[in-house]
Symmetry: C2
DNA sequence: CGAGTCATTGATGAACTTCAAAGGGAGTGG
DNA sequence: CCACTCCCTTTGAAGTTCATCAATGACTCG
């Protein structure tokens, strides 16, 4: 439990604003799936690649006009909505290759905010252009429907999570989700650094900081998890899945 | 607190399988919003109107191949998913004019089941045709994106509901949601019959039957709500909104 | 009219929250 | 480079809310 930094692969991206969808390592995870080379080039033309955002910088805020969705290129984001009384609810975490910003589609206004958890960069995909282009490219339209559908099923799984599962089940599921998404990006499924605080995890999973911390401690005591601050190692994947009720 | 039946407007629909989107009273709530007459006619051609479904009949089941979404024409539906251990989680209730079945879009398989809560009917909208047609009709594409986006924001509001709110707040919000949707369909916002059981409400809101029942009783004692089994009357809308934390 | 489901109400208990306090880490400025 | 500060994390003790268990009553529909 010593390593501070794990493979800083995002760096390359930060220094290369010229990368296009065809060359992007994330291509196979992101929008371009199922597009052929010519189609990817067309997609490429509507995508805007911005400067990196520093930690705690907002991508958009609740109430902002909606005009684009964003593909996370590097780093990570937290999406959250703020109630009238100021309390916040984290609605999702977004890792490279995932699409953030779809909360604004229905009303053309963002009903949540998105903020970086670390230095991050995105590809901006103007929604109007995406609509237009997807009328020409059936597989792009298909793909975007699929991505929106996935957001729906993800949220519905969270509903079950929040309404039925205990604190241990929720935390275990959360860790497995991060693990699986890392694995999907060819990173370690068993060892990674959490870019979010205990409080943010707790908020997302409907728990308090203290409860999350206690669960982490218990999992560590049972030697299922190795924890060093935000550095995490899954020592017993089977046991963790057992706890999370995964078949 | 006596009336058993409230305006049975759906009946007319049941007896008329020939109604088309252009004539449907629900048009302005449903998919056709923002389409002109010619466009509605085109939509009409891909829509299949089926026989009415009786109470407790399934529209689709978890695991079924996905090939269409459905517009509720009359009655009401419950969507729910079943875990490996057999426990069920209600993921939504669907009233006339609302679209059900989008849970299958991402994987082309339904990951939840849909069942009627009473005699009901739907318009089946084959997804492939909808995709095709929406490539020709920008406003239809726009509209469908909007509907999917709304499902996303609805689910995210539920997340906040489940993770932050007390039993009273949840039940109050639920009643207000049904009230608003009724009002939207030009039905009474203050008096209606719930087509779902206490257990189903509880399951949806992450509570037990007993808790839901107790909240109903308390609201009745405070003269905020009139309750006669599934017949409900909101006596003090302001107080109910107060409880639900609505601004 | 009878059987079964649904709703209500009470008593008890468990899980998580809240309140409180102290121990690291990371980043900043001197 | 060190020291200071602030925030994050951890752990303990007490308190609440809601779940669970249990029993009765009411409604619905064959």
């Amino acid at each position: 439990m010593s390593a501070l930094m794990i493979a800083s692969e995002p760096k390359r991206c930060h220094t290369n604003g010229l990368v296009n969808c065809g060359d992007c390592r994330l291509g196979p995870l992101c929008l371009p799936i199922a597009l052929n080379t010519a189609e990817v080039d067309q997609l490429d033309e509507i995508v805007k690649r911005g400067r990196p955002l520093i930690k705690n910088e907002h991508l958009y805020r609740q109430g902002d006009a909606f005009h684009a969705v964003y593909a996370v290129r590097s780093g990570s984001f937290k999406a959250y909505s703020t109630a009238d009384d100021g309390t916040e609810q984290v609605t999702g975490f977004y890792l490279p290759g995932e699409i953030i910003g779809m909360d604004g589609i229905s009303s053309m206004k963002h009903c949540s905010s998105a903020v970086t958890l670390e230095t991050s960069s995105v590809c901006e995909i103007p929604f109007a252009s995406l609509g237009e282009l997807s009328r020409q490219l059936p597989s792009l339209q298909q793909r975007f429907f699929q991505i929106m559908g996935k957001e729906i099923t993800k949220d519905q799984q969270m509903l079950t999570q929040l309404s039925k599962n205990s604190a241990e089940e929720r935390v275990a599921s959360f860790l497995l989700s991060v693990s699986a998404r890392n694995h999907h990006r060819n990173l370690s499924a068993t060892r990674f650094r959490l870019s979010m605080s205990r409080a943010e995890i707790g908020n997302y999973m409907g728990l308090t900081v203290e409860t999350v911390s206690r669960v982490f401690s218990r999992l560590q005591k049972q030697e299922i998890l190795g924890v060093d601050n935000r550095e995490v190692e899954i020592l017993d994947m089977a046991a963790l899945k057992e706890i999370a009720n995964v078949a």
